[in-house]
Each structure stands twice: as C-alpha cells, then as structure tokens.
Amino acid sequence: MKILVGIKRVVDYNVRIRVLSDGSGVDTDGVKMSVNPFDEIALEEALRIRDAGNAEEVIVVSAGGDECQQQLRTGLAMGADRAIQIQTSADLQPLSTARAFLKIIEREDPGLVLLGKQAIDDDNSQTAQMLAALWDRPQATFASKLELDGQSATVTREVDAGLETIEVDLPAVISVDLRLNEPRFVKLPDIMKAKRKPLDVIPLEELGVAAEGNLEVGHYAPPPQREKGIMVEDAAQLVEELKNRGLI
C-alpha cells in the first residue's frame, strides 16, 4: 500500500504575523516558513504505519512554487520515500488543491491519503473533505487515533461533544488532529539523505487543473485591539452592562 501525505508551506507557527498595510494579505517577506504542523502529524502517522509494516511507500505531495520544495525536503528528511511538487505560482484555493490531489491519486493509486485537518495560514479545513467527495471515497476528519485493519481503518475523531469512533473502508481520506502523535525530530544524517531522494515536479497545467477560485478575499485585517475592561460587582450588573452595549 502507498500512503499519500499532503504538505503545505505556511508561515512558521512561532512567527507573529503582520498584515500588509494595504490589507491585501499577510507579510511573508523574509518570514520563516515551515511545514504546516498538522501536516507534520499526518506524515509522522504515515511513517509509523509504514515502519510497522502496514505500508510500502510514503509519498509527500505539495502544491506551490519551487520554494515549497524546501518543505518537501523536510518531509523526505523525516522519512518519506519520495516527493511530488505540483508546480504553480498561483495561491490555490482548497477546491483546486483537492482537484490537483485527485489527479495525483489517479496516478499513484494510494491506499490511504493523510492530510492535516487544516493549514494554520487560512484555517480553511476544506481540502480533505472536498478531496474525499471528488474521489468518491470515505473520509474521517480530525483523527486523534488511527488503527488499520486490512481493508478498513478505525478512527477516533475529535468532535465538539468529545470523541467519536468510526470505521471507514480503505482507500480513504483521513485528516489528522493535534493529539494523534508527536512528530519526530529530524536526524542529521537524514537531512543529507533527503537530498538524494526523488522529487518529481509536475506543472499544474499538466494535470489539467485550473487555478481558478470560487472564493474572493475581501481584505485582511489584524484583530481589533482589546479595549479596556471594567470590573462588575455581580451578575445583575454584568447583564446590565451587556444590555447597555447592545450585546444581548
């Protein structure tokens, strides 16, 4: 079985992001970029499945400009066997990404697709669901535990009410949550080895997918500064103050 893992290049989670003054986006000029943390968890899980003998090959896939090869190399250094870059200069929306991934699925025929539950840049949380629908295969999102059993997978999902356990037939798309595992630290010799692992570059056009968008971004703005609060004496005054502000 092959496992396909999606990797997105995002602003590092340690960076305090800054909105561009014209509101057109987030300043990424010279900002540290990393693998989306949820994608790292997805890859870690794929590697554990492979190393336990339940898969033969782990392939990392990313869609983006050549700069995303850096994140694919990180995936290879973590232990993926090979990498595919879907090459595009466009900022793909989830639907286009899902369509492009579907084309890769058709080429690679994986038994399992593991994605992060969302990317920490736009927090869309859509690609996995869309991909499952386009592929017409089962999906299990927000996985915090994953057990493979031949032709199916038992997945514990983090839902609002707590945990939910479901079983899905394979092949399936599974999106992973924070508590699934703790990704490994990359070993120094593996960084060197990653340079020699195969990394295929496939232009988006070659997959016959258009980088069109059905979402329109109005503008970006930083969250408003927190205003000075007041101390209330009791619940009655709290209700009063909320009413005064037209909040209830």
């Binding site: 990393s34 990180t74 630290f185 990359v186 960084i191 060197m192 340079k195």
Partner: protein, 592 residues
Amino acid sequence: MTVYNHPYKDVEFLFSELLDFDRMCQEAGLEDINQELVSAILDEAGRLGTEVIAPLNAIGDRNGATLGEDGVQETPGFADAYRQYVDSGWPSLTAGETYGGQGMPKLVGAAVAEIWQSSSLAFSLCPLLTGGAIEAIAAHGSDELKETYLPDMVSGQWTATMNLTESAAGSDLAAVASRAVPEGDHYLISGQKIFISWGDHQMAENIIHLVLARLPNAPGGVKGISLFLVPKFLLDENGRPGQRNDVYCVSLEHKLGIHASPTCVMNFGDNGGAVGYLVGEPHNGLAAMFTMMNDARQGTGMQGLSLSERSYQQALEYAKERLQGTRSDGTRYPIIEFPDVRRMLMMMKSATEAMRGLAYKAAAEIDLSHWAKDPREARRHAERTSLYTPIVKGWITELAQEITSLGIQVHGGMGYVEETGSAQHFRDARITTIYEGTTGIQGLDLVGRKILANKGEILRDLLDEIEVTADAMSADDSLAGQASALKQAVDNGREARAWLLDHAAENRDVAGGVSVNFMLLMGYICGGWVMGQAALKACSLLAGDGGNESFLRAKRVTAQFYSDHLLPRVGSHLATVKAGADSIMALDVEQF
C-alpha cells in the same frame, strides 16, 4: 523565562552574502554541501534548541549539578535532552567520516554551536568538550586508540573532558605535576585536576578524560608534559564499558554562572593508579592541546556571541511589552519607544551582529586553511586564522560582558531579579573571558605570537584588506560617512601597529601592558569591517530587486549605528596603547 529563536535571517545573510558559502564549497570540491543544505540543518538544530534545550536553561541555573554517592548528578531533564541530541545525530556534525562523522565544515559547526550555546551554554559545554577531544585523538592518537574510542565518541554515546589545570598550574601549564608511570601496555596516572567541566555525570555510558601528566624522568617545563586517555570505565574484551577506573570526582565548585555545567575536582589514582593510554608522542602533550587551540578559543568567542544574542532577544521582548509611558490621550506605550532604551537595544543588536560576522568569518578561515590546494594559500589562511583567534576570543567575550549587562539594564529593576532570567545570561557570560585563556592571555597571544613574531606582516595584510572595503564603501554616497569612519579606524590600527613595532623592544612590560587594549582595538576595527561589508551588500541588494527589504534596511541602519557608537572606541584604545606601560608599572609593589 523566554523563548529562544534562532536568528536565521542574519545567519543566512552572512552565509550567502559575506562568506559566499556556495562558492567556498564549490572551490573546495564539496559537491554535496551548499547553503540550501545548511539552511535545512540550521532549521532542525533551531527546532531542537528552541523546543528541547532552551527551556532547560533556567532550570539548570536553579538546579545545578550535584555530587552524591554515585558521582555527579546532572540537572533534571538534561539526560533526556542529551539523548534526543544524540539520537538526532548532532554530535557527529563536523567529525571526520572515517569514524561516523558527517564531515561538515567548521563554519557549519560554528553556526550550529551558536544554537546550542544560546539555548543553554551549560548544556552545550558537554558536547563541545567531546568534540575537542575527538579532534585531539584523531590528530595525535594511534590507529588503535582511534578505532577503539572514536566511534562511540562521535556518536555521542560517550562524552569527553579536558584535564589540564591543577591547583598550581593554571595559565602556566609548565607547573603540571600529575604523574604517569608505565605498566605493561598502559600507564598508571595519579594526581589531582581542577576545573574539569563535565568531569562526571550520568548522561552517557562512558566518559573519556584527556589528561596532561608527566612521565618518570620527563624534562621540566612544558616540554615534559604528555597526553593520556583515561576512560571512566575500562573497556572489556568486547570494547564495551566495564570495570570502573580509578578516577573520581571528589568535589564540585560553586560558581557565579553555568550552574548546570559540573565543574569537577578530579582525583586520579587515589586507589593505586588510573589506567591511561598515551596519546601521541611522549613529552609532546602540549602540541596535541594546541591542535585544538584555534577551535576551542574561537568556540569560546562564539559563546560570547551566543549569550549576547539570547540576552538581546529577551531584552527586546521585554522592551516591546513593558508599558511605562502615557500619551496625552491616556493610552500607554512600551519602553522601546524611549530613545535611551532604543540606544541600548541598538547597542545589543549591532554588537551582536558584528560579533557574529567576525566569528563566522574566522570559522570560515579555518575551513579555507584546510581546503586550500596551493600550500601558500593554505599558509595564508592558517596565518589569518591564528591572527583572528585571540581577537574572536578576547574581543567578543569582553564585549559580551557589556551586552549581557545592558540586557539587564533594559529590564530595569526586573532585570536584577533572578526570576526574570536576564541576570543568568550576564552571570553565565562571565566565565567566557576567563576559560580557554583569559583576556590577558589573548592580548599577549595577539601581540606576541601573532604580531611581533612576524613583524606585523599578517596584521598589515588584514588592515590593507579592510581598507579595500572602506574604499568600496566610499563609492556609495549613502555610505560615505561610514566609509570615512572605517578608513579612520584602519589608520588608527596602522598607527597602533607602528607604535607597537617601534616600542615593544624598549622593555618587556610594553607589549604586556598595551596588549589587551591593542586586542580590543583590533576587535572594534574588525567589527566595523564586517558591518561595513554587510552594509555594502545590503545597499547593492536593495538597488537590485532586493530580497528581504525590511531586513536589508535594518542591516544598513545597524551598520550605521555601529559606526556611530562602537567604532569610535578604536580611537580611545589607540590613545591608551600609545600611552604605553609607564603609568601601569610605575608604582612599586609596596606602594599598592
């Protein structure tokens, strides 16, 4: 406690723009190594530093190593962190490939060491010492010693120490009194060594001590000292640690800083003699030590840089968050808006970047001296390395005292409170001007071995090269002011050089009296040089299609600040040098 983040932008700028790393590697025929690979390496090291090692720094300060029944117990958490460090393969970074190393350049080793040292200096010393011992054994040990000990040291399974100092033999190693008596295929070592960093701990399955001692009938002085390898556990027939050797830590020093680094008094041979093996030729132990000297001293300079960087990051964060000013509309603003706080932060930022520029340049020079194919080129790089070394060690660690002190000052009263964590960097930095040769020793080394011994020729070439940078800067109108300041500094350097060559022979106190000021003068000039080179590169990148515009603009301003605030110190050191040693030595000892 604050987080540490690797200042990768400045490091990448140095690699690509000031050192031209890719070309360096190409010319040396290192096909597999380039900046892209180094970025990936630094990324991963930065992650381990930030997430695993840096959080232990304050813990180690409050819970230093302790001595108990079973020897030294290191700070809680250190053993796990060391295990992760070893499992990730970091001990092998620069070691030779024969014994399992990755064979990366010294420059890359220095850049990665900066991360460990900023994360926790106390922790970083353990692998640092192991690295030094690996070099010494690789350069001087027999094939059998190398094959027996190096693989487990390179992998980090075993750590190592340097046992030089004795209570009567500090800077003066001629007084070493420890003894080694031949017995069969080995020697029995006895004596007491002090100030042995990481002399004992429980993080590794064996500890390999390199020990200076005298053979029977050895000549007196430094020419009678030999080097021995003394393992904590003797190896069994399978080469695994077995029987306990007769070497024990008998006490730990209580220190101002680096509390988590156990500073041991080591007793050898209290129960009949510690088994040791000769490394290199008899009576030639000091040569083996000097093999490591450039590395070890430059490495200590790096420590001054690393602590300055950490102190700066912490001060900067505080200055952005601490609200103390009130605007007319009643809103409050952080202290970073006050000019004097800005001045302190700019001092920290510009000094740290200048230190990094010089330290990395000097580390690259070590690589170039090994890689050069033309023997004359190799010699030129080796001479330049030896000139840089006391400046890197002496100037950076002295400046680090001021910078880590400013880190406290930015915090005001909160900086003086231990819980804030800024004071630790200041206390930890204090050792760096002392160990691996005090500042005084660095001054003497520079003035004596590195300048007077070659009639100032190596220094003359360096000053000429710095002037080339100043000339290039003067071609850019926006850098004209900095260019003339750097030119002035070079002229001051030449004046100091000429004065030294003229007056050193007058009496033996002259060179010793002016040496530290001379060394600091050269440090500030070299700092001005690398900042000038950085400003030039920033200007040309900004004139083209740039790169990271805000970083490049900040670089230019930082270079300007260095030129305005730190470079003028060259003039003051020149005046002090030219005052000579008269007022230093004029009082009789009884008059004190």
